[in-house]
């Protein structure tokens, strides 16, 4: 490993930076090539966009609970604005919150620290990745100021609605939206190359592939899925852009085919779900091992199974198109693959539960979020079985049942998983401990409120309530007091969930100011990131660690301590 000698030079240099005042702020925090700073830049941008996305959901949920009323902090919602809020809420939560926090933020911060190297293989590509991402963020938000308004053709952007101005009535919004999404994808491709290359080439001395924490495996596999599936979407986006701007007919009825876009979009869109799922499952594995003091059950099985998930995820996409008029013989094949993919995912869930079994479980806040993720995701997973079977999907398609289903998969991943990551790594990133009591209030308040938002929506969907409807007043069966009460309950629960983020904000501010010092390894964990200082300096370690064992040697018989760090010689 030559990188250790490079690093030995880099560390004192990083220290000396602090003394060179004029250079420090910009080079250290804004144009940094340090993987940790880039990870934090991604995460903070993601958190900012999460606030924007939640605000949008607040506006349209308020409208649905009380149509045509004046909404505090917004005003009265028009049908076109409703469509663009729903569209951008989806786009933002997937591409600008889930992706930067779960994949880019987590991956950048953790991969080099977990495999014991000083930085990513291509630090400048990494910096470029964030800069492109930042540009895409600005572009997306600029769409709201465009004449004619922001794009409102759903996050799936089906043509011809998205392709022709005479249909969508947003002459600039649709082009800006598409450019922003395309740029965002470019950013993640740049970052993804780094993740895979770094994990393959820069592991610490003595660390074999199966000594890597499962989280690193999961991020690498997720990145590979992403890179394999995103190509067709980029091609599709270019074609759609040409349709929009130059009047080509790739996706027009005459000369082209609108269904082609659906294939290109979902060929990416469904693997994307697993791109978000896998890093989260990795985090949960790390956290439950640490807080139950037990080795991970079936480490290798989990890794192989994850590869299975990755391969299967590439061949399930058409289950989004059962009623789009595709060849009926295709539907049964995609039903089959969709049901089959639930099996490896269930195996991973079983492995997690088996890890807890006979453990010594301590419910610290990160563990609460991780367990919450497992429980809530279970409900999201099992409701997928309904939608995977073609005949049932015909009934549920585009109803609130679908909305409830994917929020039950994505909110556990993004919110529960995001808070698990945040509370688990906060001591490492800042060097301060969070307050446990405020953390518990935040967890229980948010988790309970979350269920009251989306369980009513399962019932709405079963009753045949379609989504993306601005105004239900024309439909007698959907405006009964019962149906309205379901909508109102979801909205009120959302307000409660938002209110329960206040303890979180207080907790973060309070802990940053006067939290207890964390030390290097507050959770008594084995993996390498906990052997670096908190916060780790530029270059991570003064001397790169050497690895002697796997990452999950907890409660080893005959040892006094119940953990055994990977780099401890004995």
């Amino acid at each position: 490993m030559t990188s250790s000698s490079v690093h030995a030079d880099a560390a004192p240099e990083a220290d000396s930076h602090a003394h060179h005042a004029p250079q420090s702020f910009w080079s250290k925090y804004i144009f940094s090539v340090d993987h940790k700073i880039i990870g934090l830049q991604y995460t903070l941008t993601g958190i900012f966009m999460a606030v924007v996305g939640v605000y949008m959901s607040y506006v349209f949920r308020m409208h649905l609970a009380n149509p045509a009323a004046h909404i505090p902090f917004y005003g009265v919602l028009s049908p076109a604005a409703y469509n663009s809020l729903v569209t951008n809420h989806g786009t933002i939560m997937i591409f600008w919150v889930a992706m930067p926090i779960l994949l880019a933020g987590l991956g950048n911060y953790c991969i080099p620290l977990m495999i014991g190297c000083d930085d990513m293989v291509f630090p400048r590509v990494n910096r470029l990745s964030f800069q492109v991402f930042f540009l895409s963020t600005v572009l997306l938000l600029v769409g709201f100021m465009a004449p004619g308004g922001a794009f409102g053709g759903a996050w799936t952007s089906y043509p011809p609605l998205s392709a022709k101005v005479e249909y969508n009535l947003t002459p600039h919004g649709n082009v800006i939206w598409l450019l922003a999404v395309a740029l965002e994808i470019v950013a993640f491709l740049l970052g993804g190359i780094n993740f895979v290359t770094t994990a393959m080439n820069s592991r610490a001395k003595g660390m074999k592939m199966f000594d890597m924490p499962v989280l690193v495996w999961m991020i690498v596999i997720a990145t590979i899925i992403f890179m394999m599936s995103v190509g067709p979407l980029v091609a599709g986006a270019v074609m759609l852009l040409l349709d929009q701007t130059l009047g080509t007919h790739f996706f027009a009825a005459q000369g082209g085919d609108p269904v082609l876009w659906q294939h290109l979009f979902w060929f990416f869109g469904h693997p994307e779900v697993y791109v978000l799922l896998l890093p989260e499952l990795g985090v949960v594995c790390e956290i439950i091992c640490v807080f139950s003091r037990k080795p991970l059950f079936g480490y290798k099985t989990i890794v192989y199974t994850t590869f299975m998930v990755g391969i299967l995820s590439m061949i399930v996409w058409a289950h989004h198109q059962f009623i789009a008029g595709i060849d009926p013989r295709m539907a049964s094949i995609f039903s089959l693959t969709t049901i089959i993919i639930s099996i490896p995912v269930a195996v991973i869930m079983f492995a997690m539960i088996a890890t807890l079994f006979k453990g010594s479980i301590e419910f610290k806040v990160p563990m609460l979020w991780a367990i919450g993720l497992i429980v809530e995701f279970l409900l999201g997973g099992v409701t997928g079985i309904y939608l995977g079977s073609s005949a049932l999907d015909v009934y549920f398609h585009d109803t609130y049942f679908v909305v409830a289903h994917f929020h039950y998969t994505l909110i556990p991943l993004v919110a529960f998983g995001g808070f698990a990551i945040f509370t688990y790594y906060f001591p490492k990133v800042t060097g301060k401990m969070l307050d446990e009591r405020l953390g518990r209030i935040h967890f229980w308040g948010s988790a309970i409120a979350f269920n009251f938002i989306f369980i009513p929506l399962f019932f709405s969907g079963l009753a045949g309530e379609h989504r993306r409807i601005y105004d239900y007043s024309g439909f007698a069966e959907l405006t009964t007091p019962h149906m309205q009460s379901l909508r109102t309950m979801a909205t009120h629960a959302l307000l409660v969930m938002i209110a329960f983020q206040i303890p979180f904000v207080i907790n973060v501010i309070k802990s940053l100011l006067k939290g207890a010092p964390a030390g290097a390894n507050p959770w008594k964990a084995n993996t390498l990131e906990w052997t670096a200082d908190s916060p780790p300096p530029h270059g991570n370690w003064a001397e790169l660690p050497e690895v002697y064992r796997g990452p999950y040697e907890y409660s080893v018989p005959g040892r006094e301590q119940d953990y055994w760090p990977q780099n401890a010689a004995n």
């Binding site: 009535l169 039903s335 006979k358 010594s360 479980i361 073609s390 015909v394 079963l462 379609h466």
Partner: protein, 261 residues
Amino acid sequence: MSVSSILKIFGLPELASEHGELVDHMNGFVHWFMLVLFVGWSIFLIYVFYRFNQKRNPRADYHGVRGHATTHIEIGVCIVEAILLIGFAFPLWARQADEFPTGPDVVKLRAVGEQFLWTFHYAGNDGVLGGINPKLTTSTNTIGRDASDPNGKDDFLSGGVMRIPVGRPCIVDVRSKDVIHNLALVPMRAAQDATPGVKAHMWFKPTKAGTWDIICGQLCGSGHSQMKATLEVMEQKEFDAWVKEQSDTAIKNAAPAPAAK
């Protein structure tokens, strides 16, 4: 008590089609399966959290689970999923997507979506739909009917109201003039995307007379929520009388110059 009666409690709306019975049955079956899975998992998890809490179990067992219980549960789940697919999903799908009904009994009509309304095109007295061609669309010929097609002479249109007779299979040819719409017939447990350039078909057999709302099931623009139509399932006699009246009027109007209307 049938398998699907759980769904009534959960608010499943009225059913009015023959194959819908099977859809609801499968829906109920999956609900029970999910309920068993979810309750089972939850009980087990709560037990684990209680029994292996740090207070009760201060030192974890390095070796952990050694039995094959998880494998057996996993195989059990796979078997139920296989039953679900082979027993319910595949046959039901094959029936609705491949085996379209034939014979004189079948009612054929065409639904044409556009921003933001539905037009229903009926075959008239001869029972055969005339052709349409998007290129022929004008302000008076709203769905582009082909005047040279002899089958179309007795055809007629119904704006926003879809009338069908009870007890006869009905094939709907679902088309769109502009963007993607979806003809969602909730009481029939049937829905089909209307995609421009795609000739999509769906069929069902109404079992109950009544009137229901039709909602557009695919975001189609700023007026999406106003894209409402009405589904009227009527008695055979009523339907026949209506078709005859409309069709005769259509023939009468078509006979002289097509300028009148």
